[in-house]
């Protein structure tokens, strides 16, 4: 019997960062003609594995074979060149170049060859049209710096799909897409893998999506393979979550109970009620209310920027007792107790060169106008990390030693003990596994219970539905399309109001 030919064979891959073993013998086999879901919790090693496959990281031990070539050999490295394309969570586009150049330049193999703009443009239009012809025509000549996050994501995906690569690595590609765009992406992926001997690896935390697009899955848990090429339809949702090592989180799939009003009220510290007004919208924001923002990212960003003092000409007003309390800049916002946590950890959250303790204590130092780093801070920070079940965090290590999800918890930890009067959350669960999401929901609830008003933008409708008392929906253009109370919230209503996929 002939062994099945795999496009990518990664066997017993081991990788350590310093003393931390991230991968402890991972198997990952991808056959041509399939969409392969790579699943696992935060810190399970998915990103590391993908970076090893693309050659961005070296592995310490194990075999990596691509299209029959050992990638450790020079021939293997050559075989890989241009035949593996990746879409990472963080966009990797060149902001000063046009969309056409961004899509076409990576394909120019020889640096000295002539760059033909017309040809590059045609190529880029073709690639973009795979996803959205209207967007292709409109965007191809624009500079990448002018694109929104969502448009940038489209360009990255188009570049990868259009590159002619045999192996597509898509790390949460739908995080910023609307429902029709995600649908088109799935259709195109299906067509590509059925027409040509190529394969797509798909990383996602959205169970619905995984079922929709993936044939087989590989699940990582703590750096080892806990499910090796298992057909997705052979596993139930609960089984998948269990294999990810998150048995306790399996129950998270069900609806979450709302907190009983009595306990919540007891613990509330009164900050007074905020009054939020914007285009055709008036919202009361009493202490403890969780206000959801759906859709986006244009509309929610405008509101969030106004709340944290980042908007130049805010169209949203924040008042209390008839007086404007909108902060003029982020420093004023933080100092007056308006907390902000972004899911865009790399650009808007983590200070990578400072140790964990500085990252955790940063907000407290601002709010309390501290002048010196107190001697009590290590104990304070330790207590916070313990509260959040962050066990692998050494206070003087850099944040990069922690997984993305843990870093996210750390950002919330900044505000946890401060009881901010208003907490602004911008996709705090982006790229976070289900277990950590569950913990983040708990934290949000806890802080609401302690009297913080919460404004929370999420593109995952399920979490808004289970946690929010009120949701403002925005359409793709950024206009608010209505405020929905908890009783009216449903996937269908939100999808209709926002035009985004659940």
């Amino acid at each position: 019997m002939q062994a099945p030919m795999f496009l990518l064979e990664a066997r017993s891959i081991v990788k350590s960062f310093g003393p931390t073993r991230v991968l402890r013998g991972v198997n990952f086999l991808v056959a041509p003609g399939e969409v392969h879901a790579l699943l696992g919790g935060n810190g399970a090693g998915k990103s590391t594995l993908l970076k090893i496959v693309t050659g961005d990281l070296s592995h310490d031990a194990g075999n990596l074979v691509f299209a029959g070539h050992d990638m450790a050999s020079p021939a293997g490295a050559e075989a890989r060149a241009g035949r593996i394309a990746a879409v990472h969570q963080e966009l990797a586009l060149l902001p000063h170049l046009s969309v056409a150049e961004n899509v076409a330049l990576p394909l120019c193999k020889r640096g000295l060859a002539l760059f033909r703009p017309a040809e590059a443009r045609r190529f880029a239009v073709d690639a973009l049209s795979l996803i959205d012809p209207a967007f292709a025509a409109e965007a191809v000549d624009r500079k990448v710096a002018e694109l929104t996050l969502h448009e940038g994501q489209l360009v990255e995906i188009a570049r990868a799909i259009g590159s002619g690569a045999q192996l597509l690595l898509l790390d949460e590609p739908t995080a910023n897409l609307t429902a029709p765009e995600a649908e088109r992406l799935f259709t195109i992926l299906r067509r590509l893998v059925s027409e040509r001997p190529i394969a797509a690896v798909f990383v996602s935390h959205r169970m619905q999506e995984i079922r929709q697009i993936a044939d087989v899955c590989t699940i990582l848990r703590d750096g080892i393979t806990s499910a090796d090429r298992v057909p997705v339809h052979d596993l139930t949702d609960v089984e998948i979550i269990e294999r990810m090592g998150q048995q306790s989180a399996a129950s998270a799939l069900g609806p979450m109970p709302h907190p009983s009003p009595s306990t919540a009220v007891l613990l509330r510290r009164s900050f007074g009620t905020f009054h939020l007004s914007g285009p055709a919208t008036e919202i009361e924001l009493p202490p403890g209310r969780i206000l959801g923002l759906a859709g986006g990212p244009t509309g929610p960003s405008r509101l969030i920027d106004a709340l944290i003092g980042e908007a130049k000409k805010p169209i949203w007003k924040l008042c209390r007792n008839g007086q404007s309390v909108a902060p003029p800049n982020p420093h004023a916002a933080a100092a007056s107790g308006i907390g902000y946590v972004s899911g865009d950890r790399v650009n808007k959250g983590i200070i990578a060169a400072l140790p964990i303790i500085d990252n955790v204590m940063a907000a407290r130092r601002i709010v309390e106008r501290r002048i010196w780093v107190g001697w009590g801070e290590p104990a304070e920070a330790d207590r916070l990390l313990d509260t959040l079940n962050i066990t692998n965090g050494r206070l003087w290590a850099l944040p990069a030693t922690m997984s993305g999800g843990t870093q996210q918890k750390l950002l919330i930890a900044r505000w946890l003990a401060l009881k901010p009067q208003l907490l602004v959350l911008e996709e705090p669960t982006r790229g976070v596994d289900i277990g950590t999401k569950r913990e983040i929901y708990t934290l949000i609830r806890t802080m609401a219970g302690l009297g913080s008003a919460i404004v929370w933008w999420s593109t995952e409708h399920a979490e808004l539905i289970s946690l929010c008392e009120l949701v403002i929906a925005f359409d793709v253009q950024g206009e608010p399309t209505g405020a929905l109370a908890a009783a009216e919230l449903s996937d269908e209503r939100l999808a209709a109001a926002t035009g985004m996929a659940a």
Binding site: L267, Y340, V373, T442
Partner: protein, 337 residues
């Protein structure tokens, strides 16, 4: 239904045993490993020099190195503040020259030593203010801004006396450098040590010092978090300008003669000292101890080359090799990803 999430026990967390923390000493060693390596390199350098030149390690020669290094040490500390924020201050050499000229000129015109010195320090303050405002408010690139003030300051240093050098008329001015405010400790050494300790403490223990690193590491995230980014960066340029001026008056007190070209070599040396000391020009890293050791290293090389009797034209090349080795070792030390 009872919601355990809201019990204060869960929230505050049981007062569990804190996760094991490395000992203070262990942490200091790991924090300062770059600095320890430079200190070791300086010792090796002095060992080599003393093997070739028998009298290299005499008290007199070591004091010479200290005396020669002190202006550079002070300027390197100032430069470090700016480099940590991800900027660069090219104006320090011109500030040094202009401060010396203005201070001497004031004394020649009959001002006392104290107001003249204050006037000189004013040059650094003013330049730092202009640099800082242009970088933070106008949003110009630090390299460009300080290139402008470098050019302007350098030319003003010539204009004020038409290029003539000025002797310091006040004989007692030398006491600023060579007196002993604290009995038994010569002033230049005292100033260096006090500034080093103050700056290192500021960087490690003051919240504003931590903001310098935060801004240099990720200015956008820092701003959104509420760090007063503009104030922080402005303060760094003010510090750099003031310290460059202070280095200049200290040097003027020793040499007793102001020259328009006095600081022309110092700008690159200050940047080199900071880089040898482990700071990254991309911002976010560096320590005062490292910068000071970098300055000592550069001075020790100059001194060694002189003692051994090699043509002094080789100084630059030796320094170049040392910088290259320092950054390569640092690069390798930070590890392969």
């Amino acid at each position: 239904m009872a919601e355990p999430l809201h019990s204060s026990g869960t929230y505050q967390g049981a007062l569990s045993v804190p996760a094991s923390r490395p000992s203070m000493i262990g942490r200091l060693i790991s924090d300062y490993r770059t600095e320890l390596a430079i200190a070791l390199a300086i010792l090796v350098l002095e060992g080599v020099v003393s093997a070739l030149v028998p009298n290299a390690l005499t008290r007199g020669n070591l004091a010479d190195i200290g005396q020669a290094a002190s202006p550079l040490i002070i300027m390197a500390i100032g430069q470090l503040l700016v480099v940590i924020t991800g900027g660069i201050d090219l104006s320090v050499g011109s500030v040094f020259s202009l401060t010396g000229m203005i201070t001497a000129l004031a004394m020649v015109h009959g001002f006392g030593a104290v107001p003249s010195t204050a006037l000189g320090l004013g040059i650094g303050f003013l330049t730092g203010l202009v640099n800082g405002l242009l970088v933070t408010v106008a949003g110009l690139a630090p390299f460009v801004v300080t290139l402008i003030t470098y050019a302007a300051g350098g030319s003003l240093a010539f204009i004020v006396t038409n290029g003539q050098s000025l002797p310091v008329p006040d004989q007692s001015y030398v006491l600023l450098n060579s007196g002993a405010l604290v009995p038994g400790v010569v002033n230049y050494a005292l100033f260096c040590v006090v500034l080093l300790v103050a700056c290192e403490l500021f960087l490690r223990r003051a919240v504003a010092g931590r903001w310098l690193y935060a801004v240099g590491s990720n200015a956008n995230a820092s701003r959104l978090l509420g760090v007063p980014v503009r104030r922080t960066v402005l303060a760094a340029y003010l510090g750099s300008g003031l310290l460059a001026s202070f280095a200049s008056v200290l040097s003027l007190s020793y040499i007793s003669n102001a020259e328009a070209t006095a600081g022309s070599n110092l700008m690159l040396q200050a940047i080199a000292a900071v880089v040898i000391g482990g700071a990254s020009l991309f911002g976010g890293t560096g320590s005062a101890i490292g910068a000071v050791l970098g300055a000592v290293m550069i001075t020790a090389i100059q001194n060694g080359v002189n003692l051994i009797g090699v043509n002094s034209f080789w100084q630059g090349s030796v320094t170049a090799v040392v910088i290259l080795i320092a950054v390569l070792v640092d690069r390798i030390g930070k590890g392969r990803r």
